[in-house]
């Protein structure tokens, strides 16, 4: 019998493996302790320390946090009007980017999922995924080349691609930031919507048609509601990633300041306690957004 030696062997591995089956929970502890400890110590620990840092007063001479406790940093972070306008601008950018991505993704995803032939469909999906790998900074830099307004004097007088091909460029500023961020995160919105449409049974669309719905009505009454979780899932990326971004504002934003710029500048000032208090802004906004999207069943479509 071939199986016999295995069945009767009391090998070392078997003796080690035994208790993991017999003792309830031992296996779970063995497997999960390393990742959970790492994330708790390194990440959650850091976040707790971050919030704690915000309670300390800054020594105005050494510019290091002292051991004196204060609530001034929170007061400044949440009541300064310049900060408020930066927060509103950042939320405005994140919402605009989400809407631009949605406006492009809906028709593109519909064409790819429901109209393109199967062979073309696969090629189109790959074409959408491929730019994700091209590198964040490379893409930000590419938009610098696109948006370059040129100047009256010097070598770059003729301007970048948009200026010389279309005769117009928004230049470096808020619009440039919104375009570049939409460019960066478009696939993150398109792919969940595509997956949602792909799952949609064609018979539902036929049924709507048989009941007399025109395409517009089918979209608003059948496709739209069924796509809400996918759109919510995609918007988590477009909204959260845009909200915290400040590198793109540095590259194509001209003088535009977003929350990220504000925190980075405060940190480099250096005023670590105030920077720590300011990070509560994006944390609170992102967590509220995640909760709202969870209610739209965004996480079920991942």
């Amino acid at each position: 019998m071939v199986g016999a030696p295995v069945l009767t062997s009391r090998s070392l591995t078997r003796r080690i493996a035994g208790p993991f089956h017999r003792v309830n929970g031992l296996g779970a502890v063995a497997v999960l302790s390393a990742p959970v400890l790492w994330l708790l110590v390194v990440y959650i620990g850091s976040l707790v320390l971050l919030v704690a840092t915000a309670f300390f007063k800054l020594d105005s001479f050494t510019q290091k946090p002292t051991s004196e406790l204060t609530l001034d940093n929170f007061d400044r972070a949440f009541t300064t009007s310049v900060f408020w306008s930066t927060i509103f601008r950042s939320i405005g950018v994140a919402v605009s980017v989400t809407l631009v991505c949605l406006a492009l993704s809906l028709p593109m995803a519909y064409y790819i999922a429901k109209i393109a032939k199967p062979r073309v469909r696969r090629a189109l999906v790959v074409a959408v995924v491929l730019p994700l790998w091209a590198g964040y900074l490379v893409k930000g830099y590419a938009w610098r080349a696109m948006l370059e307004p040129g100047s009256q004097f010097g070598a770059s007088a003729s301007g970048g691609f948009l200026k010389s091909v279309f005769g117009w460029t928004p230049g470096f500023g808020l619009v440039g930031v919104i375009i570049t961020l939409s460019y960066l995160w478009l696939p993150y919105m398109l792919l969940p919507i595509y997956a949602g449409l792909d799952r949609l049974p064609p018979s539902l669309l036929d049924a709507a048609g048989d009941l007399g719905a025109r395409p517009g009505r089918t979209f608003t009454s059948v496709i739209g509601p069924l796509l809400v979780p996918s759109i919510a899932a995609g918007s988590i990326f477009t909204f959260s990633l845009s909200l915290g971004d400040y590198i793109i504002a540095n590259i194509v934003g001209g003088k535009t300041q977003l929350i990220g710029n504000l925190i980075a500048r405060t940190l480099l000032a250096p005023n670590q306690p105030l920077a720590a208090a300011l990070t509560l802004w994006p944390i609170v906004i992102v967590v509220l957004y995640l909760i709202a999207m969870a209610r739209l069943r965004a996480f079920e479509s991942f």
């Binding site: 994330l39 064409y111 830099y141 696109m146 959260s240």
Partner: protein, 266 residues
């Protein structure tokens, strides 16, 4: 639903416009890397290989590339181990707080990079770690765990549970089942997760900037530090083109290995 020909045609136009939107900026950078002039002006003033030759000799980008590769490899290694363990644990066991672990794993990537950056910088300062290679690897590994985890757990969920039962029925112990059944089935998911983690680390700049300290420069940092220096614009064009070219085989491989919508698997 029967769309009119005009509607289908419009959808097609929007789709190809969207694809042009995705690819034209990248193509512009590739063309500009052969530009003879030192500006981002379009059209280029004559094409040549001179900046590629200069880039081949430049030490800055080469050192930065090596730093990026070392950091990404180390971070990927740690993330794969942690992410795989977490995926197996969550897939196999049911316990109180199971959902909070998934949340814990996603959090480092869900919160903005600048939050992670400020938090880790404060911690490394408190603990007394000198900022450098070690701190960057710890930081990168933390937000890379999620991609390893996602890939492995997706594969485990698709795996037939009766394979494990069959293995046990044939007398295999836990280790043997892992070695001969589970591991071969998740191997390609591990590779795909590893590639994604590598790309994520290779691409990162915000957390890197605040956890790296002086004298440490990854390739994204090099690009960021040089794009505004007019003399270095041609070099940045070449380096950006190289990064794009390097990404193509990685993307192709990841696509073949993953279970995503474009993998071609049913």
């Amino acid at each position: 639903m029967q769309l009119s020909r005009v509607a289908r045609f419009s959808l097609r136009i929007v789709t190809y416009f969207g694809l042009a939107f995705l690819y034209v900026p990248l193509a512009v950078v590739v063309v500009l890397s052969f530009n003879k002039a030192t500006s981002l002006a379009w059209p280029p003033r004559g094409l040549g290989l001179q900046w590629w030759e200069r880039a081949a000799d430049a030490e800055g980008p080469r050192d930065a590339l090596w730093t990026s590769v070392k950091t990404a490899l180390a971070a990927t290694g740690i993330a794969l181990v942690l992410g795989t363990l977490a995926a197996f644990g969550i897939h196999k066991y049911r316990f109180f707080g199971r959902n909070s672990i998934s949340f814990l794993i996603v959090l480092p990537i869900a919160l903005p990079g600048i939050v992670t950056a400020v938090a880790l910088q404060a911690t490394f300062g408190r603990v007394g770690f000198d900022l450098g290679f070690r701190t960057v690897v710890i930081a990168h590994a933390t937000f890379c765990v999620v991609v390893a985890f996602n890939n492995v757990i997706a594969r485990l969920r698709r795996m037939q549970p009766n394979l494990l039962e069959a293995s046990a029925d044939l007398g295999a112990d836990g280790f043997q089942t892992f070695r001969y059944v589970t591991f071969p089935l998740v191997r390609s998911a591990l590779l795909a997760g590893g590639l994604l983690a590598f790309a994520l680390s290779f691409d990162e700049i915000v957390v890197t900037t605040f956890t790296s300290g002086a004298g440490f420069e990854t390739l994204p940092q090099w690009i960021f530090n040089n794009f505004s220096r007019p003399n270095n614009i041609p070099l940045v064009n070449v380096v950006a083109t190289v990064v794009m070219l390097l990404s193509i085989p990685m993307a192709w491989l990841a696509q073949r290995l993953s279970d995503g919508p474009a993998s071609g698997k049913v």
